[in-house]
Amino acid sequence: MKKNASRALTLVQRLALAPYSVWAVLFIVVPLFFVAYYAFTDQQFRFTTENLARFFTATSQITDEAGTREVHTYLLIFWRSLKLAVISTVICLVMGYPFAYMISRASARTQSVLITLIMIPMWMNFLIRTYAWMTILQDTGILNGFLGLLGLGKLHIIGTESAVVIGMVYDYFPYMILPIYSVMAKMDVKLLEAARDLGCSPAGVLRRVVWPLSLPGVISGVTMVLIPSISTFYISQKLGNGKFYLIGDAIESQYAANNLHFAAAIAFILMIILLAGMAVMQRHANRRAVA
């Protein structure tokens, strides 16, 4: 009798998976097919590759210091998104890695205080945080007021690519620190001591022991900064004065203009590129792990 009850419970536990499975198929898998479906159809839902072709061939004229040129609109936007996202990710890594290391070597009490402090800005809405930077970086903003007090003249930052990078670094910095820190905090201190006892220089310990061990944290930190910054659409509008359209802005503006099929096409291309990039990174990481 007990055996029957036990079997019944196992059955119930297996059935517990059913609602989620249905949900995941309906709301995770099927919507992705809708992206592809819209990307490959026109307004009347007839098959077309025009939306995708438009991404690669649409041109527009831009005028800057170098004169007027004809450019591939969306390829330029994509290239710019990639460039700014990579720059922001590198800055986050360079700033965040030593900081994560410092936290992980501090006393338990200091660790928990610092981690809490890093997490507080994350819980402020990112729109508000970005907007705050806009008021700081404005030509008549606080930064320039401060520089003026020091007699250092003024900086024109708002509406430049630097402003967009500052916004991305600020918004996603905690996402770099937290995964690296959590890997480093679990690192066995004895390994570092052993390396030192065996004659490794402090720099050697960092390069040969700390860095390889922290690599999984670095990889997840890099993904967690790179992906949102490549696809953001608010930061560039506010801090770039709308001059630096990013791939996210392109999707959003097509959506706002009710151009759903082209919005889907851009999203589809972004998705494919990110998936390919991630697969390459994963393979590289696996090979490193095996070696």
Binding site: L9, A16, L117, R129, T135, I136
Partner: protein
């Protein structure tokens, strides 16, 4: 910590908190300026509490976050139990992949993909607008689920398999063993999942932006609409209030953490004392 580390920590903290400090200070400014502080006033707080649209958005956000958190925690916990019992390796791998999708995909793609489906299905039924509270709730539950599963599943895997068996050997029915032994073991994971789902839902802008209709506005969407035009320090007052609520909740959770740690320590000591006697 060494001096260099302290200086570096200080600089990082200035970078992280300067924008927040500026919001705080200028929310008490009597004039509209965001760079010159004239005099202290609570004017913008009064304005905020008269703004019924924003207050309505706060209520909407809370309703949505609580519903999404509860639904995703119940469904996610059940899913974790089911995944844990799963024998087929292929099914397991397939489920893991699907569960990872909302976490890896950029929010904008999750948002767009759900929106396209809702619009398409809505059109099938001839609805003029198909985006409303329900579509938003579905979207929020969808992106919260993986985080809940990811919190609960490791707790199940860490649990000693002998525990429920021992309970049954000692006369528990299987159901009772599950409720009395397994559930308490995974409870911390369930609670962390619930809190994560709640905060994720509370803070989400991008996915909400694509899946919300005209009728239902959450706070992040309200803020987005406010920042489209020139912003009054009313929004800064709102940010200040949010900041202090977060600070209060964090302190509370830190205190309770410290209390639990202390309680655990004392219990251990007591047990040790008993053994020594």
């Amino acid at each position: 910590m060494k001096t260099a580390s302290k200086i570096y920590t200080g600089l990082v903290m200035v970078f992280l908190f300067a924008p927040i400090a500026i919001l705080l200070v200028f929310s008490f400014n009597s004039s509209k300026s965001l760079s010159v502080f004239s005099e202290f006033s609570l004017h913008w707080y009064e304005e905020l509490f008269r703004d019924s649209v924003t207050l309505g958005a706060v209520r909407n956000t809370l309703v949505l976050a609580v519903s999404a958190a509860v639904i995703s925690t119940v469904m996610g916990t059940a899913a974790a139990v089911g995944i844990h019992k799963l024998r087929s390796r292929y099914l397991r791998a397939a489920l893991d992949t699907v569960t990872n999708i909302p976490m890896i995909n950029p929010d904008i793609i999750t948002g767009i993909s759900l929106m396209l489906m809702f619009v398409f299905v809505g059109r099938l039924f001839g609805a003029a607008t198909s985006l409303n509270f329900v579509t938003m709730l579905i979207a929020h539950v969808t992106f919260c689920l993986p985080y809940v599963i990811l919190q609960v599943l490791p707790k199940l895997q860490q649990m000693d398999k002998a525990l429920p068996e021992a309970a049954m050997d000692l006369g528990c029915t299987p159901l009772r063993a599950f409720v009395k032994v397994e559930v308490p073991e995974i409870l911390p994971g369930i609670l962390t999942g619930l809190i994560m789902a709640f905060t994720l839902s509370l803070d989400d802008f991008v996915i909400s932006y694509f899946t919300s209709g005209n009728g239902f506005q959450t706070l992040p969407i309200r803020i987005y609409n406010m920042t489209k035009k020139t912003v009054t320090p009313k929004m800064y007052a709102l940010a200040t209030i949010i900041f202090f609520v977060i600070l209060f909740l964090l302190l509370l959770s830190n205190l309770s953490d410290a209390d639990t740690a202390k309680a655990v320590k004392e219990a251990r000591k007591k047990r040790k004392d008993k053994r020594e006697k």
